[in-house]
Amino acid sequence: MRSIRAAAVGAVTMSLALAASACGGGSSTEGGSNDSPKTLTYWASNQGASVEIDKKVLQPELDKFKKQTGIEVKVEVVPWSDLLNRILTAATSGQGPDVLNIGNTWSASLQATGALLPWDAKNFEAIGGKDRFVDSALGSTGAEGKDPAAVPLYSMAYALYYNKKMFADAGIAQPPATWAEFVEDGKKLSKGGKWALGVEGANPSENIHHAVVFAKQHGGDFFTADGKPDFTNDGAVAGVKEFVDLMAKNKVIAPGNAEYAQNQSVSDFAKGKTAMLLWQSASANLKSQGMSEDSFGIAPVPVQSGTPGTGTGVNSMVMGINMAVFKNSDNLDGAKKFVKFMTSDAEQKILNTAYSSIPPVKDAQSDAAFNTAANGVLKNTLATSAVAAPQVADESQFETAVGTAIKGLFADAAAGRAVTTESVKAALEKAQAQMPAA
């Protein structure tokens, strides 16, 4: 009898404990506070060749920050494939990090959740003012007319990486400046099991970066001026077709690239399997894969004709990483101090050198370290011929819908099925119909 009583008491106690613990979770500090002034949690995006390399780059800087302010930063490097979902979960539960990195193309989408601290004049003042940042980088921090949802941290641009030896072997003196030259050179390079270009055909995000640029070069945009999806205009269709045709019609991309989604194209380039790569800030990654710095060159991404510039001379999106503060942070002042530290001139030089990116902070950008021939191409692209990703709340959906459509078109090309203007238009039409605002 005693054991039955004990069991009954145990059962009731456990039930009450379960109910209490269920009710106890989820409390969050709406609007942020300074309740935990001595610690910060930081989700860093995976920038280097691996999560471990990122930790090695970041930890000494975080130790420096602790020495200066007494605030300990607990860093977690989050792989790209997980980052957006992690941020989304944090936004839903209100239980996120204090500071986080976001892909700059997501700025407007994440801004719409209301989970990120708006960077109004006062907050910008706390980190030294808005004027410290390059305009093109600020253009990718949130929707127009609203306070930015994040602060630029690393800037990147697409460039054409080319293998000098393969070019010399094929008798090509200089990298192609137009797509016509590119195809001509590409045919010379695509021989004997080697190919001219590597792409990530099954990676929706990579696909849309190129699609936006190709569309711009054909005078098209994927969104109307008032932010409505417009995926089937002539410029967008022609741009996507020209990109996929590099595999389907011109045969300068190996069909196997249609299933690449894990940066295999970077490895192929590093191993000399492909002669060219359209990538952003790849130098550090290529070096870590054993490719010596003098074996590859960096040139601007080709355009239709003439030289890169505004309008149809656009040859990159403004790529990069922004730093955001979670609105619910328990250490808002500390978070702003940390953003100020990471965007300081000194840290910008250290971090952007480590990641072979370009500082979005004007004073740091003028440092000699970023004036090499390679960095000159990226800087010039950012300054003159790069456009911001569509700054609309549905940008994240656009990446998936259009990127997946292009993935399907690459699959068709790889299987030897025709890729026509009609099939491209049909794929984009379907993508547009999947958009929530459609």
Partner: protein, 330 residues
């Protein structure tokens, strides 16, 4: 801790005690009847928290216009009435059409996968019924796919299915010359076959395990008697083994059906968040609607529709199988 539970005490035959006797007996009866429920309470509360509350929240979300604009405070999202359901079942419009396509892909995939898992598992279990040298080792080997972590197992298949360096193309094309050129398995139409292969590979050991357990309960005398009567192996399987496994198979097939229909890990690890059309299973499709396009209301409506479908299938299946059992008893 002091106990509030009173134990029956014999206090003699005084009038007061006699009057309290029936009350005490009633209290004792309540305690006896209530105790099992009390002991069940932790499980009931857990069930409530882990299953029922999220399910109710999901149903409520399906009636809301829930996008990224309201994700921080989903309670404030405007009511959408039946709009999310209308969009999901409007098969002439892209969202409904894609959902219907995904549903048919999932049905075909589930039927084939469950059928093959059951067939391979049952065959293997029957072959393992008689003792022979090395049976223990083989049994253990058969269970390896079931014991491996899903992610590790499926990612290995991803490597094997790769177009340029994968083992599958190496064997089929380079070594056996069965295909004209290396095939694509992770994109295009073949992705359905790749998905099916991985699903059956990791699913059949479960069928093997369950059928093997079921076979232990069939008396050996039945087979001996049948053999004496001249029944061959196939007749023994048809007349003794399969009917005796009927109850086990009913549960096995239902469980395999539900697991396979809802399988998320296999397609997600194989193809990522945007599966090829030919292998667009409904679980990933709903995930995409909810967490990739951030249309949580529509995603929830699709989940509710899926839940209703599975409840219907399970109900019909259980009704049919229990009728079958009653008929066989009669």
């Amino acid at each position: 801790m002091t106990s509030t539970v009173e134990l029956p005490v014999n206090k003699g035959e005084s009038g007061e005690t006699a009057a309290r006797g029936p009350r005490r007996r009633a209290a004792g009866r309540i305690r006896r009847v209530g105790l099992p429920y009390l002991l069940l309470l932790p499980a009931l509360i857990l069930e409530l928290l882990v299953h029922l509350v999220p399910m109710v929240i999901g149903i409520v979300m399906s009636f809301k216009e829930l996008t990224q604009f309201y994700i921080r405070d989903w309670g404030a999202a405007p009511w959408a009435g039946l709009d999310n359901f209308r969009v999901s079942v409007d098969f002439d419009a892209p969202v409904g059409e894609a959902l219907l396509h995904s549903f048919f892909v999932t049905i075909a995939f589930t039927l084939l996968s469950v059928g093959l898992c059951w067939l391979i598992g049952t065959t293997a279990a029957i072959c393992m019924q008689d003792t022979f040298r090395g049976r223990g080792l083989l049994r253990a080997l058969f269970l390896v796919p079931y014991a491996l972590p899903v992610y590790a197992a499926v990612i290995t298949w991803v490597f094997m299915f790769q177009h340029d360096n994968g083992l599958v193309n190496h064997v089929l094309h380079d070594q056996l010359g069965l295909t004209d050129k290396p095939s694509f398995w992770l994109i295009g139409d073949n992705s359905f076959i790749a998905l099916l292969v991985v699903s059956v590979w990791k699913g059949w050991p479960f069928a093997f395990l369950i059928v093997m357990a079921g076979l232990q309960n069939i008396p050996r005398e039945l087979y001996e008697a049948a053999a004496l009567d001249g029944a061959g192996m196939w007749q023994q399987i048809r007349r003794i083994t399969l009917p005796s496994l009927s109850a086990v198979n009913q549960v096995l097939i239902l469980v395999l059906f539900l697991w396979t229909f809802n399988d998320f890990n296999t397609p997600y690890v194989l193809f990522g968040k945007s599966a090829p059309e030919a292998a667009d299973l409904i679980s990933v499709h709903i995930y995409q609607a909810s967490f990739v396009t951030w249309n949580f209301g529509t995603g929830s409506a699709m989940s509710v529709l899926l839940l209703l479908f599975l409840l219907l299938v399970t109900g019909v299946y259980l009704a049919l199988t229990s009728r079958g059992r009653r008929a066989s008893r009669a």
